[in-house]
């Protein structure tokens, strides 16, 4: 059937596996929404928008015609705007999102126009542009335009600033559905399509991608470290992880590209799991403020387990899936070093260090999240209410995603790499070794033996209050919330000024653009003061100017 649409649509290996995951996330989001969105107004609107998003995402992935791709892409931006607007008091965020994503759509249109000028066709599988032609400037511009569109969608810096705001204000299933999973899949799909198929990459463009990736990883994760709101924290991580994908694709080696694509899938899985679990918490406690939460793991055990698995995955702890894709990206970087000049080598190594250190920072901020939501001392107001876990419609998506995290980690080379990633980038040999199945087997064996021995040895257990020196009971004033974990880092000299600037929106391209545009607006406001003589003077000056020109 699909072949009849051939010049317009095309199903290849990359698009088929991405559409598969788009389907999975749409299904899970709809199941989750049944309970979470219950009792809201205009629900029919919400479900129609979700399904339309699904359809147009598949449209983007299957489109083989650049204009068609652009239409679906723009439509997605509009749908995102409408979906964010479903929540009350989120119109400002929705506007910001729409301006950033819509603005990048304009760039994309420009890029597509240049491509048409260079090649004379819109058909994507016929386009193959090299950077070394005589039109190198136009080629560079068109590539950068398309890359900017994909960055805005996926949320790479500097076009990231809508994601943390959106994560905080939009309805939670929407966040888990769009910025966390679908937008990553689509943005990185576009970047991969553009970098691998439409253009023949050169070293400078690769370096550009790698630097953007490395910078995104570090800067976003440093911001995530000091957040006080669970959803904003996750939002910054949704930005930071894009860095690994861009970095992977930027390496230009097939190992790195495989890592980038695999990380895209993994990220979509664990990040939507994390958002959904924080949705469970929000549903029960009506807050995602980390200062007010704590000690929830006893009342929400399944949510806690899913969140723990997803957190360990995103931090790249073996044997979960995030580790495998990061490991592939690192190998891609090490492979990319092998070639040429010393400057190139140093930059690639900087990126490698940023990526590896970023993963430690990720671990740190997730330890904070886990501690302040599920572990630590319970907040009294929460402890008294005696919650229980949420209903199955909300637990099922979390559990399914957590299980996929484990399976994709342990059987990485047997299942996801073999069926989804290898067919796209071709087979290759790893630089290192990681037999995750064996390692997991040994760890599980050790745990099993340990617990058996523990169980058989009849050790007596006794419950008692915690020990605090002379106190017998932990007072509310001694409660340590996870939000205070990294205050010492926040207070370090250089970081302190950067954090202060970042909190004021100094690094937010949207805020800066707003100041610029309002500045220009003020200038025109100054001119239009409504006094007749001023306008007459302007008219006179204009006439004099015209005379001088056409004299």
């Amino acid at each position: 059937m699909l072949f009849n649409f051939y010049p317009l649509f095309k199903l290849d290996r990359l698009s088929s596996f991405i559409s598969l995951f788009i389907g999975l996330f749409s299904l899970l989001t709809i199941i989750y929404s049944f309970k979470f969105m219950q009792g809201r107004k205009n629900l029919w609107q919400y479900y129609i928008l979700v399904i339309l998003t699904f359809v147009s995402s598949v449209g983007v992935v299957l489109a083989n015609h650049l204009i068609l791709l652009l239409v679906f892409w723009g439509f997605l931006g509009l749908l995102l705007y409408l979906l964010i607007n479903i929540e009350e008091n989120s119109s400002l965020t929705a506007k910001k999102t729409f301006i950033i994503v819509g603005g990048s759509d304009c760039l994309m249109l420009l890029g597509i126009g240049i491509i048409y000028y260079l090649t004379g066709t819109f058909q994507m599988d016929k386009i193959k542009i090299s950077f070394t032609t005589s039109y190198w400037l136009l080629t560079n511009i068109s590539y950068l335009c398309l890359a900017a569109a994909s960055f805005a969608k996926a949320g790479a810096m500097p076009l990231h600033s809508w994601i943390p705001d959106c994560a905080k204000d939009a309805p939670l299933p929407v966040v888990a559905y769009l910025p966390a999973s679908l937008d990553k899949l689509l943005g990185i799909y576009l970047l991969a399509r553009v970098s691998l198929d439409l253009f023949i990459m050169n070293k400078i463009m690769n370096l550009f991608l790698m630097l953007i990736g490395a910078f995104t990883i570090l800067a976003a994760v440093m911001m995530a470290l000091v957040q006080h709101n669970a959803k904003r924290l996750l939002g910054y991580h949704a930005v930071s992880q894009v860095g690994y994908m861009v970095l992977g694709i930027g390496t230009g080696s097939s190992l790195g590209i495989a890592g980038g694509l695999f990380h895209m899938v993994n990220h979509a899985i664990y990040k939507s799991c994390l958002f959904l679990t924080s949705g469970n918490v929000e549903y029960k406690t009506k807050t995602t403020d980390l200062d007010k939460l704590g000690g929830l793991s006893k009342v929400m055990p399944i949510t806690y387990i899913s969140c723990l698995v997803a957190s360990l995955s995103i931090s790249g702890v073996p044997p979960f899936n995030g580790f495998v894709s990061k490991w592939l990206v690192y190998q891609g970087l090490i492979e990319a070093v092998g070639s040429s000049q010393i400057v190139y080598k140093i930059i690639v190594f900087l990126c490698l260090v940023a990526a590896m250190f970023g993963s430690a920072l990720t671990l740190a901020s997730f330890m904070k999240l886990i501690h302040s939501t599920f572990l630590g001392q319970a907040n009294n107001s929460i402890a008294e209410k005696g919650y229980n876990d949420v209903s199955w419609q909300m637990l099922l998506p979390c559990l399914v995603l957590a299980i996929i995290c484990v399976i994709f980690g342990i059987f990485a080379s047997q299942v996801p790499l073999k069926y989804f990633i290898f067919p796209v980038v071709g087979t290759y040999t790893f630089l290192g070794i990681w037999s995750s199945g064996l390692a997991t087997f040994l760890i599980v064996l050790g745990l099993f033996l340990g617990i058996i021995i523990f169980g058989l040895s009849k050790i007596s257990l006794r419950k008692d209050a915690i020990f605090l020196g002379s106190e017998t009971k932990a007072l509310p004033s001694t409660r340590v919330s996870g939000t205070e974990f990294y205050n010492t880092i926040k207070e370090l000299d250089i970081l302190k000024t950067i954090y202060l600037k970042a909190e004021k929106g100094f690094f937010d391209i949207y805020e800066q653009g707003k100041t610029l545009i309002f500045g220009i607006g003020k200038f025109f406001q100054f001119l239009h003061n409504g006094i007749l003589p001023t306008y007459l003077v302007w008219c006179l000056l204009g006439i004099v100017g015209l005379f001088l020109i056409f004299h």
């Binding site: 000690g295 793991s297 055990p301 806690y304 723990l308 790249g316 702890v317 073996p318 490991w327 690192y330 190998q331 070093v337 010393i342 080598k345 190594f349 260090v353 590896m356 430690a360 671990l363 740190a364 330890m367 904070k368 501690h371 572990l375 630590g376 001392q377 319970a378 630089l431 290192g432 070794i433 990681w434 064996l438 390692a439 040994l442 760890i443 064996l445 050790g446 745990l447 340990g450 523990f454 040895s457 050790i459 007596s460 257990l461 006794r462 419950k463 008692d464 209050a465 915690i466 020990f467 605090l468 932990a474 340590v480 205070e484 974990f485 990294y486 010492t488 880092i489 207070e491 370090l492």
Partner: protein, 302 residues
């Protein structure tokens, strides 16, 4: 079956635990001699463990199930690392489970176990300890990664056996400019990974009453002590494989191991405990600078 033997007996659990505990005794003995005391008998650590295993467990009322799991996970992960390192030393021609990057990531798991276990206990002091442990990881991870990258640049491979073979053929990495700088950095990071003075900030007995371990008792505490003992065996071996792996005959291996452990213990006994922000500044400042120098030296081929 051979794998299970490797994992449980040699060079895995049993062997590393015994060597680690004896090294722990060596630590106590040497410390005692430095402080002009006599020190314990060589099997003192075994007695301590046996005693702990026979005690009851006191569970804090607010504890969560990760409180139980964490000690087991810590032991299992460190045993995996011990097995990997041991197998590559016994037979440098085949690889097992993972490469250097995997190893670095596996080495973080015991620390995660400490943090999660401490957080699960519901004790504020344990939370303070957990936050310090995590900050310490952030501190030493940056120079640690850099010093490991130095080795990767010098060897051109991330496989452990390739790193060892490279040294057997071309001489130890420590015998070059970049190698010795990277070794210094990795040595300091190892001290922090072991949680020894001056970096025992997360456990600071006099200040936060053993921090991360405050609520642990009986067999669960014993498991954490065992994790520490195995780590005390792993870290010197790790340094040997990476930096001074030219001669891996039993005699030299033993001498190198004793030498490194003595260095670690001397550093431990001649320094006061740092504050956590001092430790972070130390690792992100001078140590990372040294590590960056070693990377650049390695890129230049020195």
């Amino acid at each position: 079956m051979k794998l299970v033997f490797n994992y449980l007996i040699f060079p895995g659990f049993l062997f590393s635990a015994v060597v680690g505990l004896i090294s722990g005794w060596f630590d106590r003995k040497l410390t005692a001699r430095i402080q002009w005391r006599r020190g314990p008998v060589w099997y003192q650590n075994f007695l301590d463990l046996i005693k702990l295993f026979s005690k009851e467990i006191i569970i804090p009322t607010e504890a969560k199930f990760t409180f139980f799991i964490s000690p087991f996970v810590g032991v299992c992960a460190s045993v995996i690392v011990a097995t990997m390192l041991g197998r590559v030393l016994v037979n440098p021609s085949e690889s097992f489970i993972g490469d250097l990057i995997v190893l670095v990531y596996l080495l973080v798991i015991p620390a995660i176990a400490f943090i999660l276990g401490a957080s699960s206990s519901g004790n504020p002091l344990a939370s303070v300890g957990a936050s310090r442990e995590m900050k310490l990881i952030l501190g030493y991870e940056l120079p640690f990664i850099l010093s490991i990258l130095t080795i990767i640049i010098k060897t051109g491979s991330i496989k452990l056996e390739a790193i060892l073979n490279h040294q057997i053929v071309y001489g130890s990495h420590i015998a070059s400019f970049s190698g010795i700088v990277a070794f210094l950095v990795a040595f300091l990071c190892a001290q922090a990974k072991l949680g020894f003075v001056p970096f025992d900030i997360s456990e600071a007995e006099q200040e936060i009453m053993a921090g991360t371990l405050i609520e642990y008792s009986g067999p669960l505490l014993a498991l954490f002590k065992l994790t520490k003992a195995i780590l005390l065996y792993i870290m010197p071996i790790f340094l040997i494989v990476l930096f001074i792996g030219k001669d891996t005959s039993l005699k030299f291996l033993f001498l190198k191991y004793i030498g490194l452990i003595t260095l670690i213990i001397l550093l431990k006994n001649t320094n006061p405990r740092l504050k956590i922000e001092q430790a972070i500044k130390f690792f992100w400042g001078p140590v990372s600078f040294l590590a960056a120098v070693s990377v650049i030296l390695a890129l230049l081929g020195w």
